[in-house]
Symmetry: C2
Subunit: 883 residues, 2 copies
């Protein structure tokens, strides 16, 4: 008997099911499922995806048994329909379509009306009572088959058709008479014979195998390969081929064709939303030549069919438990279902449908939570461009921080602040941003850079602030000195209005209308269900009161990362910071630090108040000191004068502090080791603030590579704590822990855990060091890397679970073995990426922390991860019990 | 009964042994061993190191049983000698000395002549028949005890003594009469009573416990702690205390004291080498007031004693099977042995002694191999400073590349080359060096930098070239523009002569005589035995014919790392390299590369010829492209003119190529992925050269993070190979492999091994990424790190086996599991470091590769590692069999 390569459907006997999608493809599986549900599906059969795999693994040949199995399935169709291939009276006509596991719209080939030839066309004319229809069908078939299977250039057919229309004075294809169409058919056949050196195949059997082969071959066309790469679809999945009896929506006014969604895909409303065309074929709806009618119209024009369709809607939703996107054809008053699949929808619709279906008891609350793509919540939290507006796109960069914004172009942070104070909306345009630009970024409505990637400074800060950002728009030449931005010959000057869309990366000339976001009750409902389901806590990375308030508004359950140095750039503080750096001894350093301490204490007290007892993790100074140094001649002179140091000395120190690879240089805990005064001041500020507000601070030491570093610095923190407690007369509970952001720290986690109450995975730096990849510099080759499939996704956006994740798993296991109660979290950018959050669940982290605007995404992603982990567990349980 | 805290020796019953060094300390264990051998050791006892540990773990208190055990041991001594503590007629006098597991010369306290008081001094005078001697001994005892135990300032005693000498008109201490010494004793006692408020202790028992406590306390003095930190001696080892009957070499002309080595420690000659002083105490030899006589003299002055001593020499060498460093005292014609220990020696002596002893069948050949410190071979391969020469040291840096050199200071590579062409020896002085300085470094006799560590560019290149180098001499301010170097107020100008010692890091003013190295036959003999013993192969990192020839001369068995880009800086090539970088499309890039190919082919052919069929691993282009770009305005203009490009365009490209962290940037295989033409050219040059010379090249792809990168580039290499084979009509066997230099590569080694025939651990970069530590920038904090014990040694010099080593082990295991025949090697700087080579043996690498001048070190270290691994194995075997 051999393997089953062919599965029939709709012909009395249906062998497939919806869950056989991997074998039958999406279309084939759902046709079989609908047939099993008793819905009116034209009979046919599916050739499995395994045939495709076999085809490519065996030099484009078929399994030996295939021919016989196809013949058998065809015979079954013929018997069921009382029609036959090549039968002059009752010719069986079929469509041959691809159908992969994942939808690849428009990527692969289709042949309709297969089975027509010089004889059967006459039979079709008689059977349909419409000679014009029959010859038009034949004409379409030769054109499609000639193009797809025989590879005769498409435009040669078009030329013949156009010539005929011109000769006839016809405007539309439909205006051609049966005789004209016969002439077209004759010309088409001559064209094929001339091109191929042999006549167009008249044998339906030969036609069928030609079409099957063409569909399989279309799996490997360049455009299909490209599409799969972009959408992460493995080549080895292959495509199935569906052969199905043709039904015609274009045989007269009792015929129609249409598409519908079982609910409104824009709003999610429980309303039967669709369009149809009377006397038309499916492709006419797509082509947009005639304007389709709204579906509710059908209640009047074809009441019986409409009633049937409404029943189908209910059946499908009950069965699939999700909104369906369906295609149907009405042939002579009879309804046929040609496709059903889960319908795409907007985020707002997705929320409404999930909530409604849960309330209709179609699905459970956990399933409702699983229905929402966490990433899509971004749409709800930021302004979006009016889809109807006209856009003049001039450049495209990376969609670095979501939301759309219009404003005038400015080229320095100071200008951004000045103009914004005057109430003008500005877009800050920089080659790249640095910590010195923070005030300008904050003042701007949006940020645009010509360099840097998804995790460049601009991108990270913009996401943290919730500002739209387009980063790395490489075709722009931004010149801050000239205050211009060039794209080819076009020059944008300061004051010119531009618009950016941080969700797509587009840069547009002029103002484009934006739509403000609104958060529906459905959003709150889903988030409530998500919060009830999730195991991991969600915190935010925040250091300003603004950020902290935003974090709480978005549901953060604490601060996972407060970067203490973030506010060193405040004009009132930077001078002291710089004096601290220029101090030549520990005494002078202490003096400068003493001036900074009240401000730091104030920062922490503000945060603690806002967080009202929720956990707050404070990271001690991390970046290399030279980040704080004066840049440029003016800044340098101002600083030197204020500090009473010679300009030459300042320059000398700048050279001394220069590093070849600052990422791997004198930063993080290394600063604490060499300048303990700095960490002591910060610890003191934390404890003094904590004594004022009820909080249990978590003090985090960055860039730990060895247990000894942590031991030394923990001792410093503990001694400082005791000193402050003695002074204030009030002891505060606190913990000390570390970032795990170096491979060595992960590998030595058992050692380090003996000193640390918690680990927070700093996956930005851990990715940089594990992959030896600089975030700031990877833009030069990352596109090539993604194009060639070396990285499926940018590892700074989505965790490299194989490499970086392996280290995290090692660290989590070793750390917990050495210290059972060890608290584990993540505070890198990945903490707000759904796929990365899912990984964090698998290694049992206690919380994820991300920028405030991503907190809802993380809450939902964490909930989904918990639910899926539970599902997996119960699946394993079932398997064990079954075994 | 309790634990045994006290071990007696020499008093009829000896309880210790030489292998009880951990318990009894070096001195105590060897005194016991000598006593057991029947050698004349004054009786005494050792209080174990465990008492020291107990002392510090229990608030400076002793174990309960100690008092009784000490009393018992003392009684045994008294019985044996017929003397007693405090006995006026026959007073027992003892010395109390520290004795730790590892020698800590001069670090801890000693008390001699203990047991003397106002009564026993009289007994000593009678017994010795020398009143002056007795009171001098008492005077010395009070001074020593007062200083060490009672903490009365040393100089107060000296003042009293000096005053007495002045009053007496005495020049030497010896000139003081017995009466004067009595007056000194009286004054000493008064001083003690004034300082302490109580008299000097007269009770010998009290004296004894005071001295024991002082020795234990001296374990924790700051200087002892510092010494231990520098020499990696753990605090928990503790010290033992040795209490031993005094013998006197200063009782008359039939008395003497001396030190000797059983062989000449400078040359290794089998000759009894030593010095002695008649009528003197041990400290007089050390003090150097009188000139000691050579030992052979004793044959004449004390023939009986000399004969005894010669017997002792033979006994000790036979017993210890190594050259011994001994101390002895002759009291009234009777020889007493006071110490024996393994003698320190020069490298030349170590070689000769090991070879001689093996030939004398005292030790086996493998043991001879284990006797040589591999690191010490450096002494033999490079010029060293004449130890007798006067040195004016002005600065100290890191001993970055061994050897000493004198020459005139020059400040640019071009000057170095110019001057050297004129036959002048130069020292190239730079703040730091870059690849552009290579020609100057090559021309220089030595290299001096003010920045950078042990693995900075200067250090690595200098070691590779065998040039002496002092790196990171931070107190020097080098100004290349001014052509000066300042240290404090001192200015060194171009043309001033300086000397550097790359073995110590010292920088000296003026010329210091150097001694040229000579390689003895003993060296060849030991290396032959080492080669016979070792399992791992030793290769060299080399790319020039000069390096390759040196490598072979030093016994390299192949090239483990040929850096293809090393010769891109040749004046004839750099223009093409830069044109390649400036090419705006693949076509122009190919044109520039085509011009480079013949030169590269020539490089490879030369190497292959020199290596005569030995394996050669060639690494494709690794450093970021900007390293090759013009630096400075002039260079830039010259290049622009020659290339026919505008200066502005060159500058623009320089900005484009700038990277924040070049170490983690667009380099290594990333260049091969984005510019496949480059790797294709290099592969082509390799295969074309291989077709001309018989060789099986190993092509190595650097900076691999994913298997996919290697897959893509291996395909490129294979296709290029096929193309060249077709053209030349000659196929060449070759393999393709990868560097493992990123944590991710180590973690994914199983995946990567499916594509790689070999792994070579690039531990320089692997250390940088695993520890997140830039070699070039770590100088700013590494001293603090080593001082605080965070790193025992610079991880760029000696492998961090815990962290980096863990990754190497993971990679080796995963790699071999996925591909059993996988060849494993190391080509980082660590390949020439003995401790790191030992680690490589434990994870089963096939070879180590290092710079040519370190090949002998690696050969010896590899042999020792194999032997020790074998010893460990047979030890385990024995334990298994015993169990």
């Amino acid at each position: 008997m051999g393997k089953q390569w062919v599965y029939g459907f709709g012909g009395g006997k249906t062998e497939g099911r919806a869950d056989m999608r991997n074998l039958l493809g999406g279309k084939g599986a759902n046709l079989a499922e609908m047939a099993s549900l008793g819905l009116p599906v034209p009979p046919g059969f599916t050739i499995t995806t395994e045939v495709c795999t076999h085809f490519y693994e065996n030099g484009q040949t078929y399994p030996a048994e295939l021919k016989a199995q196809v013949a058998q399935a065809r015979t079954a169709m013929e018997k069921h329909l009382g029609m036959a291939f090549g039968d002059v009276k009752k010719p069986l006509l079929v469509s041959v379509r691809s159908g992969a596991r994942a939808s690849m719209p428009g990527m692969m080939d289709t042949v309709l009306n297969l089975g027509l030839n010089d004889d059967t066309v006459k039979g079709l004319a008689v059977a349909s009572g419409d000679e014009r229809f029959a010859w038009d069908s034949y004409r379409r078939f030769i054109q499609m088959y000639g193009d797809v299977v025989l590879e005769v250039p498409h435009h040669d057919f078009e030329d013949i058709l156009e010539r005929q229309k011109r000769d006839d004075g016809a405007e539309q294809d439909n205006d051609l008479s049966a005789d004209s169409l016969k002439a077209v058919v004759a010309a088409y056949k001559a064209l094929v014979e001339k091109e191929l050196g042999r006549p167009f195949p008249m044998d339906p059997e030969e036609q069928l195998w030609g079409a099957i082969g063409a569909v399989f071959k279309s799996w490997m066309t360049p455009r299909a390969i490209t599409y799969r790469r972009i959408h992460d679809i493995p080549e080895e999945w292959g495509t199935a081929v569906n052969v199905q009896a043709m039904v015609f929506g274009n045989m007269g006014d009792d015929c129609a064709t249409g598409v519908a969604f079982t609910r409104d895909p824009s709003t999610g409303k429980n309303y039967f939303y669709g369009e149809y065309l009377i006397n038309a074929q499916g492709e006419d709806v797509v082509a947009g030549i005639r304007t389709p009618r709204p579906l509710e119209d059908m209640e009047r024009t074809m009441p019986d069919v409409f009633r049937q369709l409404c029943d189908v809607r209910v059946t499908l939703e009950k069965h699939y438990r999700d909104m369906q996107d369906i295609e149907f054809t009405v042939q002579r008053g009879k309804l046929y279902m040609l496709q059903t699949r889960t319908g795409k929808r907007t985020t707002a619709a997705a929320l409404k449908i999930a909530v409604d279906m849960a309330q209709e008891k179609l699905i459970g609350e956990k399933e409702a939570v699983l229905r929402i793509d966490p990433q899509s919540l971004d749409q709800l939290l930021h302004p979006t461009l009016d889809p109807a507006a006209h856009k003049k796109i001039i450049a495209k960069g990376l969609p670095a921080s979501p939301g759309a914004a219009s404003g005038i172009a400015v080229f320095t942070a100071d200008e951004a602040e000045d103009k914004a104070k005057g109430g003008v909306k500005v877009i800050l345009c920089r080659r790249e941003t640095s910590p010195e630009d923070i005030h300008g970024m904050h003042a701007a409505a949006g940020i645009l850079t010509s360099r840097g990637g998804m995790t460049s400074h601009a991108a990270v800060v913009a996401r943290g602030m919730g500002r739209p950002c387009v980063a790395g728009a490489g075709t722009l030449q931004i010149d801050a000195a000239e205050k211009t931005m060039r794209i080819g010959d076009h020059v944008i000057r300061e004051g010119d209005t531009i618009t950016i869309d941080g969700g797509t990366g587009e840069v547009m000339l002029g103002a484009v209308t934006t739509i403000e976001p609104t958060l529906s009750g459905d959003f709150a409902t889903i988030m409530g269900w998500a919060d009830a389901a999730r195991r991991m806590k969600v915190r935010a990375n925040a250091e300003t009161p603004l950020d902290a308030r935003a974090a709480r508004a978005f549901g953060a359950e604490g601060i996972g990362l407060c970067r203490t140095e973030h506010r060193f750039f405040d004009p009132a503080r930077i001078q002291h910071v710089r004096e601290m750096i220029f101090a030549t001894n520990s005494h002078a350093r202490r003096d400068a630090l003493a001036k900074l301490r009240p401000a730091q204490r104030g920062d922490f007290a503000d945060l603690f108040k806002i967080m009202e007892g929720l956990p707050v993790t404070i990271r001690l100074l991390d970046p290399p000191l030279h980040e704080f140094l004066p840049q440029g001649e003016d800044d340098l002179k101002t600083f030197a004068a204020a500090a009473g140091i010679g300009v030459d000395q300042v320059k000398k120190r700048l050279i001394e502090l220069h590093e070849s690879n600052p990422m791997l240089g004198h930063r993080g805990c290394r600063l604490g080791i060499t300048y303990p005064e700095i960490y002591e001041m910060q610890a003191r500020a934390i404890f003094e603030a904590a004594a004022m507000v009820a909080v249990e601070p978590e003090i985090m030491i960055p860039l730990i590579a060895t247990a000894k570093e942590l031991q030394i610095l923990k001792k410093l923190v503990d001694e400082t704590a005791q000193a402050v407690f003695a002074e204030t007369g009030r002891a505060v509970a606190y913990t000390t822990g570390t970032m795990i952001e170096l491979p060595r720290a992960a590998l030595m986690a058992d050692d380090i855990a003996t000193e640390a109450a918690f680990f927070s995975f700093g996956t930005n730096d851990l990715t940089q060091t594990t992959l030896g990849l600089s975030r700031d510099d990877s833009g030069a080759f990352m596109p090539d890397y993604v194009r060639q499939g070396i990285f499926a996704r940018d590892p700074f956006a989505t965790l490299d679970t194989e490499g970086v994740g392996q280290l995290m798993r090692i660290a989590a296991e070793k750390g917990r073995r050495a210290r059972p109660g060890l608290k584990l979290g993540i505070c890198g950018e990945h903490g707000g990426d759904p796929a990365s959050v899912a990984f964090c669940e698998t290694i049992g982290l206690d919380y994820v922390s991300c920028s405030p605007f991503r907190v809802p995404i993380a809450r939902l992603a964490a909930a989904q991860a918990t639910i899926q982990a539970g599902d997996l567990k119960s699946l394993k349980q079932q398997k064990r019990e079954a075994a």
